[in-house]
């Protein structure tokens, strides 16, 4: 436990303790006006990291839990090693205690705890709270996302792929990669069979099929959560096979602007509606030019 300057006690909460989970569920629902059950919260937070569990950190006032933030444990991959990274998620404070630096106090305590436990970094995709992260919390702006809609239309489809030359190789060296093995399981915990995995010829994609309306017409869209490209010269055929297998008209790829897989496609556009990355170094030093092969499936709200 730690006492924040404003009299709040910051406390690590045990997700196996029914009293704690009741309290956490109450705070989440009070703050967001929702009606979620604990099972849902646990499903989106229990990442089954090989290194460290998710951290549940709360703020108490007079013994009552009034604020909560989850720090979801991710085993990012960097040159074959795990980078222990925690995603700041589900930050909530009950109305009566908002604007009292509860969230700030929780995050500062999380930094201390996780650094002491050997974690490498924190990351998040803040929208409303972005000024807090980049300001007093000291996170670094990690850059925004870009988007590409690959349409299953003759003439348009092929234009989305950059021809891979015979003298090119795609090796993700010195790149922070999301852990698709971990993410598929994590997302399936929440979304079940909605999350599909498609693999062929050494390439793997996972995501979910969504129904949209475009110009008044119903369209099936495959939202790519993650894409593992081991055979770049087979990518176009692979995506074509994906389209056929899942009867979709569009494959939407949303990736971090530094992702090396962007080089395989053409026609990327900025995705300002996708919250940008923010990073805080704990035991690892990241730098401005670092590359993140992150896709939309890494975001906790995917």
């Amino acid at each position: 436990m730690a006492r924040s300057g404003a009299g709040y006690v910051i406390e690590e909460l045990d997700p196996a303790d029914p009293r704690a989970t009741d309290e956490m569920t109450r705070v989440i629902n009070a703050a967001f006006g929702s009606a979620v059950e604990w099972d849902h919260v646990r499903a989106m937070a229990d990442s089954q990291s090989l290194v460290a569990p998710t951290l549940y950190l709360g703020a108490r006032c007079g013994g009552e839990l009034v604020g909560l933030t989850l720090f979801i444990s991710h085993d990012l991959l960097y040159n074959g090693e795990i980078v222990s990274a925690f995603q700041v998620s589900t930050a909530c404070t009950v109305a009566a205690h908002q604007n009292r630096r509860v969230f700030f106090s929780i995050c500062e305590r999380a930094k201390e705890l996780l650094k002491a436990r050997g974690a490498d970094l924190l990351f998040t995709f803040p929208l409303v709270t972005r000024p807090i992260f980049l300001g007093p919390l000291g996170f670094r702006d990690g850059g925004g996302y870009v988007k590409l809609n690959i349409k299953a239309v003759p003439g348009l489809f092929h234009r989305c792929f950059r021809p891979v030359r015979d003298d090119e190789a795609l090796l993700l060296e010195d790149v922070y990669c999301q852990n698709d093995r971990q993410l598929v399981r994590l997302r399936q915990q929440v979304s079940g069979r909605e999350i599909v995995v498609f693999a062929a010829d050494g390439n793997v994609v996972w995501g979910k099929v969504a129904r949209r309306t475009v110009a008044g017409l119903p369209v099936r869209l495959f939202s790519v959560g993650g894409l593992v490209v081991n055979y770049p010269h087979r990518l176009r055929r692979f995506i074509a096979d994906l389209i056929r297998a899942h009867h979709v008209q569009v494959v939407q790829v949303v990736a971090h602007q530094s992702a090396p897989i962007l080089t395989l496609f053409r026609g990327w556009r900025a995705a300002p509606a996708v919250d940008a990355l923010a990073v805080f170094d704990l035991n690892r030093r990241t730098a401005l030019g670092d590359r993140f092969n992150f896709m939309i499936g890494l975001k906790d709200d995917y």
Binding site: L50, L77, G80, E81, I82, D167, A169, L170, L171, L172, C177, D180, R181, V184, V197, A199, G202, V204, W206, G226, V228, V229, N230, Y231, P232, H233, R234
Partner: protein
């Protein structure tokens, strides 16, 4: 397929597929042996190995997934094959072919069947490979089965760490590299580009004062009724300046097309420009021609 074959028949009636002038090939055969827990696959594989020896005068290589590999364990469980029976089949296979090691790795053993957890060069966790590699080698030792220092990567996966593991454990030859886009891995692809390694050119990768001989997997073999396809596909990969090639062709045990493969090999033998080599012959010839040594 019928139309395609008819077109090919017509094409090859007009265009003779030949190895380019001066091209000579020292050729071996490697089977990625993954499914001998299936009795039918095992029987077919034994039959192929005998027929291969009868045709070529030399033995094939069967690079084996071990009895502790999680995919093999799954197959064994499904087919009611226990560890002793698996070892017995491996022992019988060793009488017909030279055994080697074929590694398939996942992030965790329980991940088998999950493609997002299959370890390849762009989806990689070093500790998982090291653990499973160690377990596999322990199985070879405990089972009294020799891998003869021969390795070929499952899903063609090899990287610098795997090379160092192989070199440290005294492996002699790796057959995971290829200039064919169908068998390429990005690590070897870049390594061969960086060092201008040509199709069929053996080379060595070194770590410290030891090295590993790398012999290319040329192309797959062979699942069409047209041996000319083999010649055409190989010719397309060849470098005009490098004509005396050493390499292997491959299949999995479970998709081995024995009839077409043997017909193709017989066709190649008839050209007078192909010498078939067993594992020792490949190492001898490959070692003699491996003029380049690159760091792992």
């Amino acid at each position: 397929m019928i139309v395609k074959n008819a077109l090919k028949r017509a094409y090859y009636a007009l265009v003779r597929a030949e190895l380019p002038p001066g091209a000579r090939l020292t050729l071996g055969y490697i089977v990625h042996t993954e499914a001998v827990w299936d009795a039918d696959t095992f029987t077919r594989l034994l039959g192929f190995c005998r027929a291969y020896r009868a045709l070529t005068g030399v033995g094939a290589i069967c690079a084996l997934m071990t009895g502790v590999n999680p995919l093999v364990r799954q197959g064994m469980a499904r087919h009611g094959v226990d560890g002793a029976e698996y070892r017995d089949r491996v022992g019988r296979l060793a009488e017909e072919a030279r055994l080697g090691y074929h590694g398939h790795f996942w992030f965790r053993r329980e991940d088998v069947g999950r493609p997002e957890a299959a370890i390849m060069w762009n989806n990689y966790l070093r500790t998982a490979v090291e653990e499973q590699f160690a377990a596999d080698l322990e199985w070879f030792a405990a089972s009294g089965v020799s891998h003869h220092g021969i390795y070929v990567g499952g899903w063609w996966f090899v990287n610098r760490d795997v090379h160092r593991l192989l070199i440290t454990r005294g492996f002699i030859a790796d057959y995971s590299c290829s200039k064919s886009p169908w068998f390429q891995n990005q690590y070897y692809h870049r390594l061969m580009l960086d060092h201008t390694i040509r199709c069929g050119e053996p080379f060595r990768v070194a770590a410290g004062d030891r090295s590993l001989l790398c012999i290319q997997n040329l192309i797959g073999c062979h699942q069409t009724p047209f041996p000319q396809d083999f010649v055409r596909n190989l010719t397309a990969l060849m470098d005009p300046a490098y004509r005396e090639m050493v390499g292997v062709v491959n299949a999995h045990d479970f998709d081995l097309d024995s009839d077409h493969t043997l017909a193709c090999l017989e066709y190649l033998a008839g050209t007078g420009r192909v010498t078939f080599a067993d594992a020792d012959g490949l190492v001898r010839e490959g070692g003699a021609r491996a003029l380049r040594e690159v760091p792992a």
